[in-house]
Subunit: 201 residues, 2 copies
DNA sequence: GGCCATTAGTGCACAGAGTGCAGTTTAATT
DNA sequence: AATTAAACTGCACTCTGTGCACTAATGGCC
């Protein structure tokens, strides 16, 4: 182990992270006020106090402003899965990883983004496209835990089912807003699937 | 019943369909030759013998050129599911609908498009986003078959699982190109899921 | 402190996707 | 033949995203 992982985080790194956060917040506010399509990158840049050109040093695209915060969350999931117990069924490992990382899930921001996506089918599609990254992260984690090549298809299958369960849970959670806690929705969705599936490992 | 459904298909309608097909073929050829990103709509229009502006009377966007042919296929699936037997488990109805419509699935075009998407992650994402339409179509079909509101969540769950199985099947089929028939891949994927799932209906 | 490499940040010009609009041509209907 | 709707074109425009050349700020190092 080389120097563990704390990393002192330099001033520059911190500034960057904070500005990244700032731009995201400004953007979400503008999206909520005027709609996603009607908000141009020029406006976002102006309201954030930077040049339009410089936006692309923080986000690769307009969509990324909404979805990039999920990237590190997905990465955490992958790592958490990789640290799971190989004796358990794959789905159970994923379930535990999701539930144990739920505290780090930014529910408030997700709710705001869901509001922005409402009535914008193009954005919903992009959101869906982004979910492929969750599935890939799950698969990556599972493949680390069970590196043998012959189990790859089984793990792919498990990652598809898992991300399906998560999507189902999120859907219920967003629909019955505030009626259920996200953790319960996720637990229910996995329960439902685990109950119906005889996970033969 | 008013006039049934045969519809004589007027000359105009037919011309439109043929031109639609023609543009698609031209585009796929260009995409294969020069890549998706490097092929502009202006080139496609020129090679198709129409104006760039007029392309948008056939396709809403560049992506649509690749994905629109799936639209009517998905619609067939939905109708086929809606005609299923309500006594069977939902997953079984979907499985039968997929398998019985497989002859109408344009495998050749799908292979070409898969080739185009290879090494283009943005396009893969868009492809993934498009799959939400299959899931919606499945859910639509199932909801027609079981219109009672209280089973909606169960049907949503089934549509997520089904489209997951289809995606798994397609993945295997594309990976082991020509090694297995698509029908077998689909059957296997559903078998696998139906075997592992105790479909309690 | 002063030098230096790196990173933050700007401005400009450009390409390509997609839209609105005003207009012309073509084809089906009566 | 006249009418009407659809096919089709051209133009000007907006917005996203990129390449490039450039300046400003910052951290490390002597």
């Amino acid at each position: 182990m080389r120097q563990a992982s704390p990393k002192p985080e330099g001033l520059r790194e911190r500034n960057r992270r904070e500005k990244h956060e700032h731009i995201t917040n400004v953007s979400i506010r503008l999206f909520l006020e005027n709609g996603y399509d009607a908000t141009t990158l020029a406006e976002i840049a102006y309201s954030s106090g930077i040049s339009r050109r410089h936006l692309f040093n923080y986000f690769d695209s307009k969509d990324e402003i909404l979805f990039s915060h999920l990237r590190e969350y997905y990465e955490m999931i992958a790592e958490s899965i990789a640290r799971g117990s190989p004796g358990e069924p794959a789905m159970e490992v994923v379930r535990k990883a999701i539930l144990s990382n739920l505290a780090r899930f930014d529910a408030e921001r997700t709710l705001a983004i869901a509001k922005i996506m409402k009535n914008n089918t193009a954005l919903q599609s992009k959101n869906r496209a982004n979910e492929i990254n969750l599935e890939k992260a799950i698969l990556r984690g599972l493949s680390t835990l069970w590196p043998d090549r012959e189990s790859h298809d089984r793990l792919l299958f498990a990652s598809i089912l898992s991300s399906g369960a998560i999507r189902f849970a999120t859907h219920i959670w967003l629909r019955d807003e505030n009626e259920m806690k996200l953790a319960d929705c996720v637990a229910d969705a996995f329960d439902r699937m685990m109950f119906e599936i005889q996970c033969t490992q």
